[in-house]
């Protein structure tokens, strides 16, 4: 039997109309944007299942764009997001698509950056505003964004993970969950590492300095703070 907080029952505070089609969509896009980094010039949203069928009426389109603009799921400007994106010169395209055997509320983000690079992120809105990211740049990876999450792209060599965990240990940061995904031994691997406490810029820089690490991203949990 699952345990619930008072604020699971009376909450979240959100922009309507639907926790899965609106609040969850905004969270997914916010995480996708933070994976991609800034200077986004174009986003194509591939909408699957229920997202494809009802995105207009549920405001899923506005919620997704709001997330790309880094708005919180409870930001009242969310409904004007498409206009704001246009003003910022971000090109937006919505395309209904069949993404295969995935949750009915799934979206694939194809994010174009100013330098011409493309990032791809796929995730699902699984109910109550909760989300699940399962693919980044065609690499399987699983995390929910409920905790502070580190995403590394590194060479799969002995000792890399231990270097990362030692840095976290020195800073007294507890690892809650850790998964490594790789295409083959010694090739590039992706790791999703969820922690119990916030990771500071300083710790991030130490991790970035590990020679086998090609790229590391930090994703803050989206929790209701000051409203």
């Amino acid at each position: 039997m699952r345990n619930y907080s008072v604020f699971d029952i009376i909450g979240p505070i959100m922009i309507g109309p639907s926790s899965s089609h609106t609040a969850g969509a905004a969270r997914l896009a916010k995480v996708a944007a933070s994976i991609s980094g800034d200077k986004i010039v174009k986003v194509e949203f591939l909408l699957h299942g229920s997202f494809a069928e009802t995105y207009v009426g549920h405001g899923t389109d506005k919620a997704l764009v709001a997330g790309i603009l880094n708005m919180e799921p409870w930001d009242e400007n969310l409904k004007d997001s498409i206009k704001i994106a246009q003003e910022k010169g971000i090109e937006i395209v919505f395309t209904p698509a069949d993404l295969g055997e995935v949750h009915p509320n799934t979206v694939k983000f194809i994010i174009g950056k100013e330098d011409g690079s493309i990032r791809q992120v796929t995730g699902s809105s699984i109910g109550g505003g909760n989300i699940f990211i399962f693919d980044i740049d065609n690499q399987a990876v699983e995390f929910t964004g409920e905790r502070p999450t580190l995403l590394t792209h590194h060479r799969d060599l002995p000792g890399v993970i231990s270097k990362i965990s030692s840095i976290l240990y020195e800073e007294n940061i507890n690892i809650a969950n850790m998964r490594v995904y790789r295409n083959g031994k010694g090739k590039m691997a992706t790791m999703a590492l969820e922690t119990d406490s916030i990771i500071t810029e300083e710790v991030m820089n130490k991790i970035k300095n590990i020679s086998e690490i090609d790229n590391v991203k930090y994703i803050n949990p989206i929790v209701e703070g000051v409203i």
Partner: protein, 291 residues
């Protein structure tokens, strides 16, 4: 850990001689490793969002994103203000508040899912209207929200709060049950009476399906928020008069869960049955998605 049944909840409350809201606050402090002030302040900001959402569409004629609903909370308020209603000021104000939150939700405004976005009108309308009538302080309204949360936790643990799993009985039914229990404790009723109110409210909506027109949280959802609000308020009076439920809360919740399981998927939020496939609903759906 929060108890797993209504029976255990009553035992805990009786043992310590505390209401459900106090038990719920203590458990929240412990499970979130927080303190009393933080937990209460978080609920206070939640209450303030509820106050805004339940008022906004009474003062402003809002329209939903699809254009399907809106402007009705404004109508009820004006009607109520004339003072010639049949069921009185309390009931009409409560209806206006419930509809206001539902309309704000459909118009992409800020609401509190309690327990869900689709049923977000009921708890604010019931607690704010009863609190106003009984001259309760803001702190007492917060206590009422903790009572409601405690009852909601029990329903979530033993059944479901999602329309996709249990139909509207699980969403608006649970919201109304939580709200009625909250008002009973606000009126000085015992924890047992609070759970009695929750049981009676749920019994009266068992079998209610989730059949949203065009799959949107608008028709018939907004008006079912009104129905839940009215039921929560009248049931509080019923219970305070001394009436009891012949079937205890835990068994009613289990019955609700089983009924949800027996419901075909067409009647669980998929918009494939019930009101959603009436000729008029299908026409409305066509109008929304072709524009």
């Amino acid at each position: 850990m929060f108890v797993s049944s209504g029976k255990d909840l009553l035992e805990k409350c009786n043992e310590k001689n505390i209401p459900i809201w106090e038990y719920t606050i203590r458990e929240e402090i412990e499970s979130s490793e927080s303190n009393r002030e933080k937990v209460i302040e978080k609920m206070r900001s939640t209450l303030h969002v509820m106050m805004n959402s339940s008022q906004y569409a009474q003062d402003n004629e809002v329209k939903s994103v699809s254009g399907l609903i809106g402007g009705d909370a404004y109508k009820i308020k004006n009607y109520s203000d004339k003072g010639e209603t049949l069921t009185g000021e309390l009931m009409n104000k409560a209806m206006a508040r419930a509809l206001s939150s539902s309309e704000v939700n459909a118009a992409m405004g800020r609401i509190v899912a309690c327990p869900t976005a689709g049923s977000c009108g009921i708890l604010p309308a019931v607690v704010l209207s009863a609190g106003e009538k009984l001259n309760k302080s803001e702190d007492e309204l917060l206590n009422a929200l903790f009572t409601a949360a405690g009852v909601g936790i029990l329903i979530a643990k033993n059944s479901t709060l999602a329309g996709a799993e249990g139909g509207c009985q699980a969403e608006c039914g649970s919201a109304a049950a939580m709200a009625s229990a909250a008002v009973v404790e606000m009126m000085g009723g015992s924890p047992e009476q609070a759970l009695t109110a929750a049981a009676i409210v749920i019994k009266n909506v068992l079998g209610l399906v989730c059949d949203p027109v065009a799959g949107l949280v608008e028709v018939p959802c907004a008006k079912r928020n009104i129905a839940g609000t009215v039921s929560a308020l009248t049931t509080a009076d019923l219970v305070m008069s001394g009436v009891y439920s012949k079937i205890p809360f835990d068994e009613v919740v289990e019955a609700m869960y089983k009924i949800g399981k027996q419901m075909p998927s067409e009647l669980r939020e998929t918009a494939q049955g019930g009101i959603a496939i009436t000729p008029t609903a299908l026409k409305l759906k066509k109008g929304i998605f072709e524009n």
